[in-house]
Symmetry: D2
């Protein structure tokens, strides 16, 4: 009487075959490895660390961040030139450098040989970023913008797809299938916090769903990245959540760093300064070592 058979949010064994034919894990050792000039993401041996400012503000900032990463033998730089704005009105908190920002990224990529991961939000920019971006980030708000997913997939660039804060794993993996179905196999997923009761408080902005990391590593062969900075919006907690994500099995961590977070143009609350960054890195390497992994 009361049972429905609606298309639910559960993932059944049957779904794995019919709904997730491309992202599901065929056997225990089935893992996608994304090779970026010899740097392997998703490999059993590596934890990738994407670090950088929320917004690529200037040549000066990006030079500072690049040098800091290189000093620590890291090479992947994250940084946004475009930023989805909840409101159409620009303010101090909703500052974007846009095309100018892409130039800053191109500069450090050329000068310091950094590898760049950055969010692209519109198809029209996709043909302008060939020499600028190594990994295209699809933001949470675009996770279900399927025509856009297809356009990004067609670039054949490596992609990081972020989970929408309201999306189930079923929704996320369905979006992943759109990308894989275009023949682009260089896909990684990113957990960045979900809406949940009690998150909208002093405690945290979203709730980092670390169980999802464990579940995704079991269900799919794709690398899984954790973004604790955007989940908790609290620089004091980024280290602990990064270590926890790594211990849970994440293939990488994306964090925000800035030489002077208090004066960062956006999202300064969750951004680490260099001292905090090095402290995190030191602990991250220790955890990685217990898992027989290296931080790259």
């Amino acid at each position: 009487m009361i049972e429905n058979k609606f298309p639910g949010k559960d993932i059944t064994s049957e779904d794995l075959k019919t709904k997730f034919p491309l992202c599901n894990k065929k056997n225990k050792n089935h893992k996608t490895v994304i090779n970026i000039d010899g740097l392997k993401i998703g490999a059993n041996k590596n934890i990738v660390l994407f670090a950088g400012p929320n917004m690529v503000e200037s040549y000066k900032l990006m030079t500072s961040v690049s040098k800091e990463l290189l000093k620590n033998k890291l090479i992947f730089v994250r940084g946004g030139a475009f930023k989805p704005l909840t409101f159409p009105y620009r303010s101090k908190h909703y500052y974007e450098t846009r095309e100018k920002g892409l130039e800053f990224l191109a500069y450090i990529r050329k000068k310091y040989k950094c590898k760049i991961i950055t969010e692209i939000m519109e198809s029209k920019y996709l043909d302008k970023i060939g020499d600028i971006v190594d990994i295209i980030q699809i933001g949470a708000r675009n996770m279900q913008n399927y025509p856009f997913l297809i356009d990004v997939a067609k670039t054949n660039k490596p992609i990081m797809l972020k989970r929408h804060f309201g999306a189930s794993l079923r929704d996320l993996l369905g979006a992943a299938e759109y990308i894989l179905n275009e023949g682009n196999k260089n896909l990684m997923l990113c957990e960045r916090g979900i809406v949940a009761p009690h998150t909208h408080s002093a405690v945290s902005r979203y709730l980092l769903d670390i169980t999802a990391i464990v579940a995704l590593k079991e269900i799919t062969h794709l690398p899984v990245i954790s973004d604790p900075s955007h989940a908790c919006f609290n620089s004091r907690w980024v280290k602990s959540l990064s270590l926890a994500s790594t211990a849970a099995g994440a293939d990488g961590i994306m964090i925000e760093i800035h030489p002077d977070p208090k004066n960062a143009k956006v999202d300064n609350l969750q951004t680490l300064n260099y001292k905090q960054f090095r402290d995190l890195l030191k602990s991250l390497k220790k955890i990685a070592k217990t898992l027989n992994k290296n931080v790259i």
Copy 2:
């Protein structure tokens, strides 16, 4: 020590001025009325009823639905030609008529003078629908696809913007500002269910947030529509939730009807047959009357 001041999901009085300058209610009687050939949505006197099949399957189906509505002195037809698919793989459950479907809608609009509300998912279709669509529906998954919102706004067509199932009211109203900021004032909002604990069960698919209807009517001057069909995915509950939404202050209801729901191509679980539809309409008119409103 533990307090953060991140951009939260709360809506403060200050936000009303700086973040929601266009959608916030300036005084108690400030209400947007959308006039579609003399039919007024958002007017104190009317409850608008959008009814029709989930998918516009054929001329035959749309003729049947149009006649059923006209027989009941209703004129607004809902029906999807495009449908966001969680997975890229077509199946019985994920059937779309696309351009062909737009023809079916054009046909009943011309023949029966029906008013059409339908979802458009890509900007490229916007210049093809001038003679087909009276109200453009922006689906939940596109709520935060801001470039698309702007493109839709520029058509100057009336718009119904659906709340994403993971979005706060702050997120929803921010998206509304994008549309209003383009000068398109004919905007209505739609609550269609949110993710919440205990919804993913026999009980319902999403949780229809009727409190949000009450809140939106207080905060904003925009008309608010309720879509109980997609929220609960359960045809037995659509009537009660429609009545509840109306009693809570909704300016309209969007439901799915079909002459033979069991054989509907998609989403047949939440679809009402004509008998159930007339029963709902009868009760809806009674509730509307207590509120001094007419069902249009």
Copy 3:
């Protein structure tokens, strides 16, 4: 591979027989009616209105409230003598009259023949309330305090069991079975808001789960009451949510009223003054009439 068969929160047809043998509805017309001196709760013909202050502060307050209800031909008085306190520290906001409060209730029950519904939180008070209380309210926090449920059931008094804000319907109905299993059939359920994303904001404290009212009326024969005051904590919204609950099928409404809410000792934000109360009652009667029901 990924499927588990844990005892979930779903309610299956099988569960109805084995887990909910006493509360499940045996046929469409199977309804429990609770008869309190001829006043029938759960009867198709009635909406019961429980109104009164959050805390029974004084003889004066309870006299005022009783007179206001009688003037409006109502007789059921709600009012707390005991109040679960989130913290052990008493303050203006966490004021209890306890045994003294029970005396105030006994007084109006005798003098004005009011019917009393009040929360009891400890078994030791159960044998002191025979002449004071007509309906024992079990609060949300005690919903899963099973030994206490059994003790209350044994009094053979009518009971209103409130849903915990984190409980599924399965949890709630399991608790109901504890009471019914003791042979006490005079049980009604109460929805009073659940934890959900986006509730912890200006918008509302908990989210009133009106879909749960619809679901419970389908699954169970027990009367279902709605408590919008505690859900939204916002006096401006209590009317709309009361009407919505009634339209959804609730058998009754529990609200907080006070002659001077600003000076109420507790929970003054959601409390209606008498003018607001009469306005709500007027509209409630109209909605009730469309459902062929009377407000008692």
Copy 4:
């Protein structure tokens, strides 16, 4: 206009003084250490591991578990004699040994010198457990049963208070204050999963709120334990979530083990066999070492 000042779920600096005077951290190094015969819980140097079956089924089972733990140089045994049952009907899944179970615990405590942590659900058992129990566990469902909290506190035994799956940290810490306010300082908290969207699926039963562990370690001086077994209900994920909790800063882990989980009387889905247990322990020790901690 739209702002309310209801008693929210936020924790403000002011709250720390007035609502959480006993549990809040007075300075960075302020930490409660619970000393059980020289074994220190909450000490910077230790991770405590509570392991054992869900239900203490027999002498034989408890002997087996005790020997397994001792073999691994562990001494804390968890095991339930009482188990809160969602329904009043006993079945294979809802089996309790009750007083008999307490005897099994007393036996291994005497014979193997194990330290016992077990849930007590009613005050009447509190004076019978002096020689049986080292730590009294208060279950999630009793978290807000304040009279019971006070009774347990008065035993002066060490206590582990579990967070209700619907409770905010504010609710949890309020409950902690009830215990501390009775003068019992030997209190630890336990995170065991919360209700959240998308948890009621193949993915997991509750969502282990690892962010809460980080938050609690910042706000309070009390030791924090993580119970991944009850959160995820999935033995394959217990190891990863245990490591993640430890990396996040938990002072201990509570897990379920059984020599033959398939034949465990209750909750066999989340229970580890001895091989899985040793594998978890090996990894846990490695993570602990990176944090300069020992597993006890």
